[in-house]
C-alpha cells in the first residue's frame, strides 16, 4: 500500500519544529510501524537527505523506548500495543498518517521524534526502591506473600516507563506512571518499611518536574500499552493521604552512646 506521512522535524530543543510530508510507497501489511519508518529513512539516506530520528530498541514491546504519537494517539491507539508492535495491516492504502513526538513540558524535545524522559528516572531516585543492600536478604520463602498481593504488585510493575500516559494527558500528568511505581512496592510486605516516605517523596519529585495534575479522565489507562489500571492512582492517593495524616515520627535523640 501507499501512504502519506506527515512527520515532525525539529533540529533540537532550541529550534522550532514543523511537519514534513513524505510519501511511503510499497508498504507491506506485515511490516511493523517502525519497519515502515526504517524504510522511509533508508530512502531518505539514498536520496542524500537526513533521516528522521526516533527512539526504539527491543522492538518487542517491553523496553519502553519507542514513543510516537500516531494520528494524535500515543502508540497509535491499539489496545495493549506499543508502536514497535503496531503492524501496518491496521492502516489503509492511501491513508495520511501524522507522526509526532511525546509532547509535555517535563519531556523536552531532543530532536525530531525523540524526547528527554529523564524526569521519570529522577522520580525513581526519590524513592522508587527498597533499601536493601546486596547480601542483606533473608531466605526467599521466609516471607510469604499472598498470590493476590503478588499478582497486584506484578500488575503495577508491568509498567514499561514509556511515558504514553503523560503524552496523552491534557494536563501532562505523570500520575499513572508514579502510581504504578509506588503501588508495586507499597503493596508488597518488603516495601512496608519505606511506604510513607516513598509515596511522599515520589509525589513531591513528580510535582517538581513540572508534570500536571490528575483530573481522572482515564485517557492514560486507555493508551497504556501495558493496560496499567487507574485503580493504582486511587491506591497511591490513599497511601499519600495516610502518610500525610501519620506525619513524621520524631525519634528520641538521647542515649545509646556506648
Amino acid at each position: 500500500m501507499n501512504l502519506t506521512l506527515k512527520i515532525w522535524r525539529q533540529k533540537n530543543a532550541a529550534s522550532p519544529g514543523r511537519f514534513e510530508t513524505h510519501e511511503a510507497h510499497d508498504v507491506s501489511p506485515d511490516m511493523s510501524f517502525l519497519e515502515m519508518l526504517d524504510m522511509v529513512n533508508e530512502r531518505l539516506i539514498a536520496g542524500g537527505q537526513e533521516p528522521f530520528v526516533f527512539d526504539s530498541d527491543c522492538r518487542e514491546g517491553i523496553c519502553g523506548t519507542c514513543s510516537l504519537v500516531i494520528n494524535g494517539i500515543p502508540h497509535g491507539g491499539h489496545k495493549g500495543t506499543t508502536v514497535c508492535q503496531l503492524h501496518m495491516r491496521h492502516f489503509q492504502d492511501g491513508q495520511t498518517i501524522t507522526i509526532e513526538p511525546w509532547r509535555a513540558r517535563a519531556f523536552p524535545t531532543v530532536k525530531d521524534l525523540i524526547v528527554d524522559r529523564t524526569a521519570f528516572d529522577r522520580i525513581m531516585l526519590a524513592g522508587g526502591f527498597i533499601s536493601v543492600n546486596t547480601g542483606n536478604a533473608p531466605e526467599a520463602n521466609a516471607l510469604p506473600v499472598s498470590k493476590e498481593i503478588a499478582d497486584l504488585a506484578m500488575d503495577a510493575a508491568a509498567c514499561i516507563g514509556c511515558g504514553a500516559c503523560v503524552a496523552v494527558c491534557k494536563n501532562a500528568s505523570a500520575m499513572l506512571f508514579v502510581a504504578a511505581k509506588v503501588s508495586h512496592l507499597n503493596y508488597l510486605p518488603q516495601g512496608q518499611a519505606e511506604k510513607d516516605r516513598r509515596v511522599k517523596n515520589m509525589v513531591l519529585q513528580m510535582d517538581r518536574e513540572g508534570f500536571g495534575n490528575c483530573t481522572v479522565t482515564g485517557s492514560c489507562e486507555a493508551v497504556c500499552p501495558k493496560e496499567i489500571s487507574l485503580d493504582f492512582i486511587a491506591k497511591m492517593n490513599r497511601d499519600y493521604a495516610v502518610a500525610l495524616v501519620k506525619g513524621e515520627l520524631k525519634p528520641n535523640n538521647g542515649g545509646g552512646v556506648g
Binding site: 511493523s32 539514498a46 518487542e60 522508587g128 527498597i130 508495586h184
Partner: protein
C-alpha cells in the same frame, strides 16, 4: 602467553569459599578511593554498579539507552534458574551445575559453573528482598516452572516478563545509589574506546549521543557489561542497539576473545515475514512446557491448514527423537531438529520455514483460562505480530539467533587478559560452554554482578594497588584522537550505500554460511566475502549529518564497522574448531543419526584469540578444559 584461569585449588565444592578466604580485602574506609567504570546497565552491569556503590566504591555507569532501565535484559521472558529445591524434586547445587555443564556440551569451565550454581539461591533471596514480584502459590511461597535441559522444576518467573522484573530490581538498587551520590549515571552515552596505560585498563573514551561530545574517563578498573554480539547476524532477537563495539574495541586493545563461534539459535521464534524485517521476536521457551512441536509427516500435507492434517499424519518429531526430554529438549538440539524437518521439505507457512507449536492438547486438558494465565502475554504478542490467534490454531515458529556464549576471555575472577578490565554477563565467555540452557542467562548476569565481581574486584585493587592516572595522560589523548579520526572517516566517505544495507548483507552471509550448520566450504566463502564487503563499506558507505549532534546513522555505521571485522573472527574460530558441539554444528562432524559429534581429544579447550594488528591473522591461545569431578560424557537427551 600462558592463559592462567587462576582457579583456586581444592575440591570443586570448596573452591569459591577458598577464594573468598584467601582473597585480599580493601578496608571500608579505603573503598571510596577507588573509581570503577561500568559500561552497560543490563542485569550484570546494573547489579554490579549498585553492589559496588553499596560497598563504597566510586562508580560511573554508562549506557547507550535513554535510561538504564531499558537494557535488553528487560526482554528476557521465561525465568531464572536457582538450586532452591523448593519443589522437593531432587534438585541440588550439584544437579544445577551438572545440567549446565552438560547443557554446554562440556565446553565450559567447571569451577565457574559450580560457583554459578552455588550462588544461584542467593540471587532469588536478593531479588525477593528488592521487591521482584515472582509468581507465588496461594500459600504465599514461590512457585517454579520447568525449562529445557532439566528434569527438575527450578525456574522462578514473573509471568512472561522475568527479565523486566529482575532488571527493574537491579535498576531500582542503582537508583538508590545514584540518589546517594555513589553512582554517577551517564545515559545516552556510548563507549567507543578502552584506554590502556602500562598494560592495564584505565579508562574509556565515550561519545554523548545527544550532543556528539567526546569525553574521557579514568578509573582504577573498567567493567564491561555490554552484552552479546548476536546482531552480527543482523536478524536476531536482540534489541536494535545491541552491538559488539565495547568488547571488540577491548579485544583490539589486548583482551583475548574466546569461543566466538559459540552462538545460540533459539528454537521458538516468530518466522521471518519479509525483507523489511528489522528484528525477530522470541516466543519464550516456557511455551514448550505445554506446547507440542510438530510438522506433517508428508510433504504433500504442508500446504494444508493444520486442522486438515489428522493426528496420525503429524510428526511430533521432538517427542519421537528425544522421548525422555521431548518438547523440552535443549535449544541447540530443538533448533537443529526444526531445520532438519524444514530442509526435508516438511516445513509449514510461507517459504516452508516454520514448524507448529500446538497448544490444543493443553487447552483440552487444562482449559483455555489456565493457558491464558500462564502465557497470556505471549499469545497476545504472537497475535499482534502475525494476526493469528494461537488459542484457535497452532503457532508457527522457527529458530532465530538469540544469544552468544562466546565473549571476552576472563579468568576465575572475571578479569580479562588485560589487568583491571573485568567482563561480566553475556559479554564474557565463561559459564555456558557451547550452549546455554534456558533461564541460565539471567542467573549468570546477576551472579556476576551481585555476588562475584564485587569480591574479585576488591582482590584486584588490594593486590595490584593501581596508581591514579589523569585523563591528561598521553594514552588518553591518543585514544581520543583515534575515536575522532574514526568518526571523521565515516562521515567523509559519502558513498552510495547505507550502513543498514551493509549490515543486512553481512547478516545474510553469517546466517547462510555460519548459522545453524557450518561447513569448511561455507566458512571459507565467508572468510573471502567478509573482507570484500568491509572494503566496500569503507569506500562506499553513506553516513548523513555530522558528528556534533544526535546522529543515529553515524552510531549505527560505527557498530556495523566493528561487526564487519568481528564477523571474520567468528568465522575463523568456527573454521578452526573441527568438531560439533552445542550451538556450533559442523556438518562434517556428526553421528550417523545427525547429532553433534564432539572431539574431546583435540578440542577440549577454550579457544582465545589475540589481536595481532589490522591486517594480521589473530593468534589462537588454548586454555585446556580440565574436568576434576565430572566425566565428559556424550550428551544425550534421548
Amino acid at each position: 602467553m600462558n592463559l592462567d584461569a587462576k582457579i583456586p585449588p581444592g575440591p570443586l565444592a570448596q573452591k569459591w569459599d577458598r577464594y573468598k578466604g584467601d582473597m585480599k580485602l580493601v578496608n571500608p574506609a579505603n573503598k571510596r578511593k577507588f573509581d570503577v567504570i561500568v559500561v552497560g546497565t543490563g542485569l550484570s552491569g546494573a547489579a554490579a554498579a549498585a553492589t559496588l556503590a553499596e560497598l563504597g566504591y566510586q562508580v560511573k555507569a554508562f549506557c547507550f539507552q535513554d535510561t538504564p532501565r531499558r537494557a535488553h535484559s528487560i526482554a528476557a521472558q521465561g525465568g531464572i534458574n536457582a538450586a532452591k529445591n523448593y519443589q522437593n524434586d531432587g534438585d541440588s547445587v550439584f544437579r544445577l551445575f551438572y545440567d549446565t555443564i552438560k547443557g554446554g556440551d562440556f565446553r565450559a569451565r567447571e569451577a565457574n559453573v559450580f560457583r554459578l550454581a552455588q550462588v544461584s539461591a542467593n540471587i532469588i533471596d536478593q531479588c525477593v528482598a528488592q521487591g521482584v514480584p515472582f509468581a507465588r502459590e496461594y500459600g504465599g511461597t514461590l512457585t517454579n516452572r520447568s525449562f529445557g535441559g532439566a528434569q527438575v522444576s527450578r525456574t522462578f518467573y514473573a509471568r512472561g516478563q522475568t527479565g523486566q522484573q529482575l532488571l527493574l530490581g537491579a535498576y531500582q538498587a542503582m537508583c538508590r545509589q545514584i540518589s546517594l551520590g555513589n553512582i554517577r549515571m551517564f545515559p545516552r552515552t556510548e563507549m567507543l574506546e578502552l584506554v590502556v596505560v602500562n598494560g592495564a585498563a584505565r579508562g574509556v573514551v565515550v561519545r554523548n549521543l545527544v550532543t556528539g561530545e567526546i569525553s574521557l574517563h579514568s578509573a582504577d578498573a573498567v567493567v564491561l557489561a555490554t552484552g552479546g554480539y548476536a546482531n552480527v547476524f543482523f536478524l536476531s532477537t536482540n534489541a536494535i542497539g545491541c552491538n559488539v563495539t565495547a568488547t571488540y574495541r577491548a579485544y583490539k586493545q589486548g583482551a583475548f576473545f574466546a569461543n566466538p563461534c559459540y552462538t545460540q539459535v533459539h528454537p521458538t521464534c516468530i518466522p521471518v515475514s519479509g525483507d523489511h524485517q528489522a528484528k525477530l521476536t522470541l516466543m519464550s521457551e516456557s511455551l514448550r512446557n505445554d506446547g507440542r512441536v510438530w510438522v506433517p509427516k508428508r510433504k504433500e500435507d504442508c500446504g494444508k491448514g493444520p486442522e486438515a492434517v489428522p493426528e496420525a499424519d503429524r510428526d511430533y518429531y521432538l517427542e519421537r527423537k528425544y522421548p525422555s526430554y521431548g518438547n523440552l529438549a535443549p535449544r541447540d538440539i530443538a533448533s537443529r531438529a526444526a531445520k532438519e524437518v524444514c530442509d526435508a521439505g516438511r516445513g509449514v507457512g510461507p517459504g516452508g520455514r516454520g514448524v507448529y507449536l500446538d497448544f490444543s492438547n493443553a487447552i483440552q486438558r487444562l482449559g483455555e483460562n489456565a493457558i491464558r494465565d500462564r502465557y497470556g502475554n505471549l499469545f497476545d504478542m504472537y497475535e499482534r505480530i502475525t494476526g493469528e490467534n494461537a488459542y484457535r490454531q497452532p503457532m508457527r515458529i522457527y529458530p532465530a539467533v538469540h544469544y552468544t556464549m562466546g565473549g571476552a576471555w576472563v579468568d576465575y575472577g572475571l578479569m580479562s587478559t588485560l589487568p583491571g578490565l573485568f567482563i561480566i554477563g553475556e559479554a564474557n565467555f565463561s559459564d555456558h560452554g557451547a550452549n546455554r540452557l534456558g533461564a541460565s542467562g539471567l542467573m549468570q548476569g546477576l551472579a556476576d554482578g551481585y555476588f562475584i565481581l564485587p569480591y574479585t574486584i576488591g582482590h584486584y585493587f588490594a593486590s595490584a594497588k593501581p596508581e591514579k592516572i589523569p585523563v591528561s595522560h598521553a594514552e588518553f589523548k591518543k585514544a581520543e584522537e583515534g575515536v575522532r579520526q574514526f568518526t571523521r572517516r565515516l562521515l567523509s566517505i559519502n558513498g552510495q550505500r547505507s550502513a543498514t544495507s551493509f549490515h543486512k548483507e553481512l547478516g545474510r552471509l553469517m546466517w547462510e554460511n555460519c548459522g545453524m550448520a557450518r561447513t569448511r566450504q561455507s566458512l571459507e566463502t565467508n572468510l573471502k566475502r567478509i573482507p570484500e564487503l568491509r572494503e566496500e563499506f569503507w569506500k562506499n558507505v553513506k553516513v548523513t549529518g555530522s558528528g556534533e549532534e544526535l546522529n543515529q546513522n553515524l552510531e549505527h555505521a560505527g557498530r556495523v564497522a566493528d561487526f564487519l571485522e568481528f564477523a571474520e573472527l567468528l568465522c575463523l574460530d568456527a573454521l578452526h574448531r573441527e568438531e560439533s558441539c552445542g550451538g556450533h554444528f559442523r556438518v562434517e562432524h556428526q553421528t550417523e543419526d545427525g547429532e553433534a559429534k564432539r572431539d574431546d581429544t583435540n578440542f577440549a579447550y577454550v579457544g582465545a584469540w589475540e589481536f595481532k594488528g589490522a591486517d594480521q591473522k589473530p593468534e589462537l591461545h588454548k586454555e585446556p578444559l580440565v574436568y576434576e569431578e565430572v566425566h565428559m560424557a556424550t550428551r544425550s537427551y534421548k
